[in-house]
């Protein structure tokens, strides 16, 4: 640089220059749409016209009175329960993997593998597996569990649980890796002290390990619960979001992009946002100790 600029001046230039593009992106693709969403939610905008007819709270009233809309949260319920089980499974395997074990890295690598598979590929694999009389039914038959055979996708009372299992299968490895890292960061002395005091395996886990995992359990639950509320990909690909499997978010997208009712869809998105926020807040109250957590 020919002309030396003072460091004070440089600092100001740099701060503005380095932040302007990232902040512009943040505003354009996050804050501005969020504000727009609130505005649209009070209109009956069709997504195309220049007119935004004001309808007040009518869209919100529709959501809470039309069982097809708010009722679709019932379909998210299986993903929620599946998510809780997913965390138990993940923690269980993390405990096993952090104990004395032969072939640890092989087991860890394999259990994590589903997370690395493309989501659409996973959905197709399970769609095939779940066919009536398909691979899963055949497997159950050959294991002598023939009475468990089902039309996993075709039976409306089972399908959401079958889909929630796909989510569990795909994502438990992700939670497991996080739990594993947390378990390995617990100092060895704690285990030794507990053993000296004569604590058994279960008591050590419950009184020594669990309290140390509190923050991590909270992160994982937060990810899982918001994931359950936002379940979309799996039913979208596996059943084309058919009515018995349409989660709240699938309905939101349909209302917007299929039925061109952007106003109502925006209100649905806002409702979802508020619910995610409430759930996160309640959870933080319950589990607590989330200060050191993103």
């Amino acid at each position: 640089m020919a002309v030396k600029i003072s460091y004070r001046m440089q600092k100001n230039l740099l701060i503005v220059g380095f932040l302007i593009v990232p902040l512009a992106l943040l505003v354009t693709f996050s804050f501005y749409p969020a504000v727009k969403l609130i505005y649209y939610s009070f209109t009956s905008w069709d997504g195309l016209s220049q007119q935004y007819p004001w309808v007040g709270w009518a869209n919100y009233a529709t959501i809470f009175t039309d069982p097809q809309l708010f009722g679709s949260f019932l379909h998210n319920f299986s993903y929620f329960i599946g998510g809780l089980i997913q965390n138990v499974v993940a923690l269980y395997f993390a405990v096993i993997l952090s104990s004395k074990l032969k072939g640890r890295s092989f087991f860890r690598a394999t259990l994590f593998l589903p997370y690395m598979l493309n989501a659409v590929a996973v959905a197709f694999i399970f769609k095939f597996l779940y066919l009536d009389g398909g691979a899963l039914d055949t497997l159950l038959q050959s294991l002598g569990l023939g009475f468990l055979q089902h039309d996993w996708i075709g039976n409306d009372s089972i399908v959401n649980w079958a889909l929630a299992f796909v989510s569990l299968w795909e994502f438990f490895g992700f939670n497991m890796v996080i739990y594993l890292a947390a378990l390995q960061s617990i100092p060895e002395e704690l285990h030794e002290a507990a053993a000296l005091d004569g604590a058994g395996r279960f008591r050590t886990f419950w009184y020594i390990i669990m309290p140390n995992l509190r923050a991590i359990i909270q992160i994982n639950l937060l990810l899982t619960v918001s994931g359950a509320l936002e379940a979309f990909n799996i039913p979208f690909v596996m059943t084309n979001g058919s009515p018995p499997t349409a989660t709240f978010l699938i309905n939101t997208m349909n209302v917007a992009f299929t039925f061109d009712n952007y106003g109502l869809a925006s209100a649905m998105a806002i409702v979802l946002l508020v619910i995610v926020f409430i759930v996160i807040t309640i959870q933080q109250r319950l589990v607590g100790g989330g200060k050191d957590v993103v």
Binding site: P22, L26, M116, N118, F124, W169, I178, N233
Partner: protein
């Protein structure tokens, strides 16, 4: 319970659980591979769990051509490269400014990124859609690049942790040599952040590779298919031809599995540092 008994019990339970877990994880993948190798004849004649009588790799060729998977890989690679390079540049810039300088609105900037974390991106798409159309980017790959480009709080924290470990004395000695702040960023901070950037790049690649709804919404043209949308569209014309659908699924799954085989440690470290900060 006596000590020895409990140890044997736990040991047995441990390995039994692992074997069950392994089976549950591998069974669907195994079925996908077996099915993808079956000729139409084997598919209809053999049991679903049976190994094909002769391996038919033809399914892979049909799937590759029929699904236009080659161009899907090219489109995906183009989007990933542009997004990741831009993302790393912007992320390191933000982290550098936030960790090395004090200025009035600093907390606000950090706070803004934190708030966004709680807005699930997929819910705001109804409104983002308008923005993309307004920018004239609808049905172009740049719509996706712009959406993926922005940095997020997790990346910023990963970078800030790294920057805080780079001694400030390094900056200061560069300043004694007359280096500008920009120079310090380009020749000290950015290169030293490479390990963190590798982590960020891998996480970003995994996210983009698996994303379905953004390409589905913003790039409806068949010629602009990325791996997720190309695979999804593949089902239509080949419905119920499961050997082909499984072959296409296996093809789409392979690149990240390879990435995983070679960069496992980075991926685990990235996931952990993405979820937890000190």
């Amino acid at each position: 319970m006596n000590q020895v008994g409990s140890r044997i019990l736990w040991g047995t339970l441990k390995y039994a659980s692992l074997i069950v877990g392994l089976f549950v994880v591998l069974f669907p993948i195994w079925i996908a591979v077996v099915t993808s190798l079956k000729s139409n004849q084997d598919l209809s004649n053999l049991g679903i769990l049976q190994w094909p009588r002769h391996l038919d790799f033809g399914n892979y060729i049909t799937a590759w051509n029929g699904g236009d998977l080659g161009s899907a890989f090219l489109n995906t690679a183009f989007i990933i490269v542009l997004s990741v390079v831009g993302n790393i540049t912007l992320g390191t810039m933000v982290a550098y400014v936030l960790s090395r300088f004090e200025f009035p609105l600093k907390r606000l900037v950090l706070g803004a990124y934190l708030v966004v974390l709680f807005i699930p991106t997929i819910t705001t798409q109804v409104a983002v859609f308008g923005v993309i159309k307004g920018l004239g980017l609808f049905d172009t790959p740049f719509a996706l690049v712009l959406l993926y480009l922005g940095t997020d709080v997790v990346q910023i924290y990963i970078y800030m942790q790294f920057i805080n470990r780079i001694p400030v004395s390094l900056d200061e000695s560069a300043m004694l040599d007359g280096a500008s702040y920009l120079r310090i960023y380009t020749s000290i901070i950015f290169p030293l952040l490479m390990p963190a950037s590798a982590t960020v790049a891998i996480l970003k690649t995994i996210t983009i590779y698996g994303d379905l709804y953004s390409p589905y919404l913003y790039m409806p043209s068949t010629s602009l298919g990325v791996v997720s949308t190309a695979l999804m569209r593949f089902e239509g014309p080949y419905s119920a031809q499961w050997n082909l659908i499984m072959a296409a699924s296996v093809i789409i799954a392979i690149p990240l599995v390879l990435l995983y085989l070679f960069l496992q440690r980075f991926i685990f470290a990235g996931i952990v540092s993405g979820a937890v900060r000190e």
